[in-house]
Symmetry: C2
Subunit: 387 residues, 2 copies
């Protein structure tokens, strides 16, 4: 049994790629941005909003869902899609990143990661096999391999050691998935038999290690490949350069996913370097903190200068927030601590991100991506002082 996952590369414009991938829950056009739905909900939104904004896929966090409400409970509900009432594709991460960033008292060994829950201190063990089983119960359309995540900066030897372990873990993940697909594992309810699995390239900012990781990961063989371990504090230009060098050696006919990135400018710049998929908490988290992305740059809505500003947040935006409300009202809601502030701001920021992805796809399709890119970066820099 193999996955029905498939990727079609329709068109390129320079290194930028226009394509689509097919999953058991539908098709996703690429380049794609995946809103982050950590606990089975994209914060401060409704599924119907995401659909109306043309979010074609969302991301769920294995670490959070494993701890609460639990992958077995979700499997009994028929999987994550049915549990949360979302009918389009879902990608789940492996839990690795959260174990390394959120969990307490981690003990890492070749076997896996032992840690205590950030919620109640309870003791847990995540291994490559366990991460695969959990995601099989969740039934996401794309599962990620369990990898080790290092902080930046790290010594080259530590990066090499960690990258090599991640490759070994990736192999164990693939073997476990094959066993699951072949019905050779008991006690794991597979809620989405068509689930695909992506490998993750590690290696920090060391080109040689990135290339070695890419080669070894591609050698194992996955339905797609992610670039992990970036956007962790390294300089932006260095990140872009690692992305370009890594994307170049990944299979042309499979999707490339840059994990946890980034600003709108990052999306445009990394599409220009051959990336097909993104996820990031920035549009949703920043929205709740009053930081808004507009066609003319960033707006910090708590700034006093907006107190009597009757204009919409973004004249060029057609989202509900911009159609209905003024900057003055949005500032009032933020200052008054109204929950509606987070919801309206999130709606706008996600609209901006998803609209940007649509414009990127249109530009690649018309072979005008480079022109779009220059204009986008120029406009985005205009309000950059409003931080």
């Amino acid at each position: 049994m193999s996955s029905p996952f498939s990727f079609i590369l329709r068109h390129t414009d320079g290194c930028a790629r226009l394509g689509e991938f097919h999953t058991p829950h539908g098709t996703v056009e690429t380049p794609a941005f995946m809103p982050v739905g950590t606990q089975g909900a994209v914060k401060a939104t409704r599924h119907a909003d995401l659909e109306a904004l043309d979010a074609q896929i969302i991301l769920g966090n294995t670490y959070h869902l494993f701890l609460r409400p639990g992958d077995e409970l979700i499997a009994r509900r028929g999987g994550l899609h049915r549990f949360i009432g979302w009918t389009r594709p879902i990608l789940t991460d492996s839990g690795g990143y959260q174990v390394f960033s959120l969990a307490e008292r981690r003990v890492i060994s070749e076997e896996g990661a032992q840690f205590r829950s950030h919620l109640d201190g309870s003791l847990h063990m995540l291994t490559p096999e366990r991460a695969v089983d959990i995601q099989a119960r969740l039934g996401s359309d794309i599962a990620m391999v369990f990898d080790e995540c290092l902080a930046f900066p790290a010594e080259r030897a530590a990066v090499a050691h960690s990258m090599e372990r991640s490759v070994r873990w990736a192999r164990r993940c693939r073997e476990r998935l094959d066993q699951l697909r072949n019905g050779r594992v008991n006690g794991v309810t597979i809620t989405n038999p068509g689930q695909a699995q992506f490998g993750i390239v590690q290696g920090g900012v060391v080109q040689e290690l990135r290339l070695a990781s890419a080669a070894a990961t591609v050698n194992i063989g996955f339905e797609g490949y992610a670039i992990g371990g970036l956007s962790v504090g390294e300089p932006t230009q260095l990140m872009y350069s690692v992305v370009a060098d890594t994307a170049r050696v990944l299979p042309h006919d499979q999707p490339r996913y840059l994990m946890g990135t980034g600003t709108p400018e990052d999306l445009v710049e990394c599409v220009a370097r051959g990336i097909d998929m993104f996820d990031c908490v920035m549009p949703t988290r920043n929205a709740r903190n009053g930081q808004l992305f507009t066609s003319e740059g960033r707006v910090n809505i708590k700034n006093a200068r907006y107190a009597e500003d009757d204009r919409p947040l973004d004249e060029a935006c057609g989202c509900y927030t911009c159609r209905t409300h003024s900057r003055a009202y949005l500032r009032h809601l933020y200052m008054a601590g109204e929950m509606t502030s987070g919801a309206l701001n999130t709606l706008h920021n996600l609209s901006f991100y998803l609209d940007t992805m649509r414009k990127i796809r249109d530009a690649i399709s018309l072979r005008t991506f480079e022109k779009f890119r220059q204009e986008f970066l120029r406009a985005a820099s205009r309000l950059s002082s409003d931080q």
Copy 2:
């Protein structure tokens, strides 16, 4: 100059009344429930939701808006409707209730109420004239007179003294509004020249004082009459009895508004006693606390029994929440502290309240209100143990 406000009583069924009132921002069918939009937003909702749920009027709180963002700022935006982007009718309270329940270090005199802001401790004075001026700047369709609010229980002498002061304050409010309407006050921007003003009947639970207050308030003459000072801790049956006795002596051809009430059962029971308008934070506040109203009674969604309950919250409800999600998911969102929990729960509770009002109006129209009332109360009691 007088108000274009008008009330038409279409139909009665026992003491229950079917009618409508007309305001500069449109018509409201009665009996009506007004969702509470304290700070210019009904918490955890969007205006478009409220419109889709058939909320024909919302309530704004003068005390909160006066302190933040300020009535003068709102007047410069063109009034509360334009500031918040809500095009349907708005009723504002006078700020009295909040001065007595929220503000710090109150000093009450015949002149008015001096108090410190609960936000920053700043010193303010609200008088009947000031409360009228602020509401003129806000430009609500219905303004309320400034009244004194006593806690329950209170000595009869204190109730009498307070009721008499409220009558004197009501007279000053009406005189101030007449001066504003006749252009005899400088420095107050009137953002809604068609604003109506309602008087408020006080008198605690003492029938004689209620009757005296009603007679004196009606004698001043307002576009409508509210019953204040109830739902402050008195027994429910006593509240119903005061409502019945007071409604009976109010003008037949003007709307009657019971302030700050109540449960769904209270709405039905007080419509049965001649009330046309209600407001209450219960559907919105309880929603955020996980307490949900359904056609079979109350559901406390954090209850462990819902952890694996795949049924919708209310089988009989057609709201987005009930169409899209299970009890299990709603419980998960609540337990996980997701903002979406408050939003989805609020949508349902408001849907339930506004749907109940529609059913009440239909039943009065069909002269089957008494039958509806009996069935409603029977169904509501079914899950009453789920607290």
